[in-house]
């Protein structure tokens, strides 16, 4: 039985799944990924990319499409397949151009940019400069020092789950309890990062 025969099949069903519980969301992610993996071969033949690079372009594409669905950026003006292919083709071209740069960075900067759009340019510059000074390697190491509960709750938060959804997924009493715990975890991480 392949994913083509999976009960979640139409674009509408898939998009709806992203607004359901964590389990359905994960299934929808897997379905989108497995449904169009033949794009990887297309990247190899049409853009002459090695399989690993074509895989990177495709998996980054799927991650971006998932983010765009969750955040509402995907407006359903085209089919998911067409939308995905357009982004994939652009990423293949990007990869060819960025051969000498870190391939994994293609997708990584988007999360910071997405959050900073809520701040006007003059203040944004201040925050951006401070973020550039942040040692992400140290920060990521400090994340590992947090307890498992904290890592779980912050991972869901970073994956754009609401406090209400996190409460259901991790069996917290309410969204308010999740919020309090989440902010405590962030504060703990901050203290670890500052070396206090």
């Amino acid at each position: 039985m392949s994913f083509e025969q999976h009960p979640v099949s139409t674009d509408e069903d898939l998009i709806e799944s992203f607004h359901q519980n964590a389990l359905l969301k994960r299934k929808a992610e897997d379905t989108i990924f497995t449904r169009y993996t033949y794009f990887i071969k297309e990247g190899m033949y049409k853009y002459a990319l090695p399989e690993e690079d074509a895989f990177d372009a495709y998996s980054d594409t799927v991650l971006q499409v998932i983010n765009n669905i969750v955040s509402g950026v995907f407006e359903k003006k085209s089919s998911l397949k067409t939308y995905l292919y357009r982004i994939f083709a652009n990423k293949c071209v990007d990869l060819i151009r960025k051969k000498t740069t870190n391939k994994n960075s293609v997708h990584q900067t988007s999360s910071v940019t997405d959050m900073l759009f809520m701040i006007a340019d003059s203040a944004k510059t201040v925050v951006q400069q401070l973020i550039e000074k942040t040692d992400m390697d140290i920060l990521k190491n400090k994340m590992k020092e947090l307890g498992e509960n904290c890592r779980q709750i912050l991972a869901f938060f970073a994956d754009n789950y609401s406090d209400k959804e996190i409460a259901v997924a991790l069996d917290y009493k309410s969204a308010d309890v999740v919020k309090t715990s989440r902010l405590r975890c962030l504060e703990k991480l901050r203290q670890l990062y500052l070396g206090k």
Partner: protein, 245 residues
């Protein structure tokens, strides 16, 4: 709790013009506040990057599974299964030692222990079973897992409501580490709520624990709680696992 709550409310709410101006003024005039904002954004981005990397690894595994072509070549397969059997024994000894020495057990180790103890052999001689089910179970017993899976899936093609075939097709897929196929069979099995002894949800949780990708543990815990709450098959093991997870 410093300014994190204020910053969190700002980014997760719908601030009006006045709130935006106040927030931006603080960033420009209060260096400590600006640093907290930068930390908040960087921390969230850090967790996002980590989650994306984990998802990418998960996608890589899915891709590899898709690429794996089931070639049946008897001689090499026999050798592979000999190595697999030897590796299974070593893995079992390792897991047993680990289990004895460590009360806290990781999800995939819990699943491995269960598979080793309960799923390596399945009851073959059951008088009421159909011949093809017996044949499938015999193949399973002989470690001919791809052939066993083919049998059970053929049975399902003939009778999509055959719960026993779904269960065994799921178990064989799990043994073959084809987790997506195993999940598909177990999810289909758990739809039959009329059955008094439906292990679908429990095996669904077992597969998630074995796969142990990002979010799998949380999803498995939800399923195990449901198994306990609804007194479904696997309840005793579910209670034990919930204490350890």
């Amino acid at each position: 709790m410093s300014n994190l709550k204020y910053i969190d409310d700002y980014f997760n709410g719908f601030p009006g013009d006045e709130q935006k101006q106040e927030f931006e003024k603080l960033i420009k005039n209060d260096a400590a506040f600006a640093e907290e904002v930068a930390f908040y954004v960087a921390a969230k981005a850090g967790f996002q990057q980590h989650a994306q990397q984990e998802k990418k690894e998960h996608f890589r595994n899915l891709y590899r599974q898709q690429q794996a072509v089931p070639v049946v070549q008897l001689k090499p397969a026999k050798r592979v299964w000999q190595y697999f059997s030897a590796a299974s024994v070593l893995l079992f000894i390792f897991l047993l030692t680990w289990f004895v020495n460590n009360r806290k057990t990781s999800p995939d180790q819990l699943a491995d222990t269960y598979i080793q103890q309960h799923l390596l052999t399945l009851p073959v001689t059951m008088g009421t079973q159909q011949d093809s089910l017996q044949t499938g179970l015999n193949l399973y017993k002989s470690d001919k897992l791809p052939e066993a899976l083919q049998y059970f899936e053929t049975m399902l093609k003939n009778n999509a409501a055959d719960d026993a075939a779904k269960k065994y097709a799921g178990i064989v897929s799990l043994r073959l580490k084809n987790y997506d196929k195993a999940l598909s069979h177990f999810q289909s099995l758990e739809q039959n709520t009329a059955s008094f002894s439906n292990p679908g949800k429990f095996y669904h949780a077992l597969t998630l624990l074995k796969r142990n990708s990002a979010g799998d543990k949380a999803a498995a815990i939800l399923l195990l709680k449901e198994v306990v709450a609804k007194d479904l098959e696997g309840k005793e093991t579910a209670v034990t696992w919930l204490k350890k997870l």
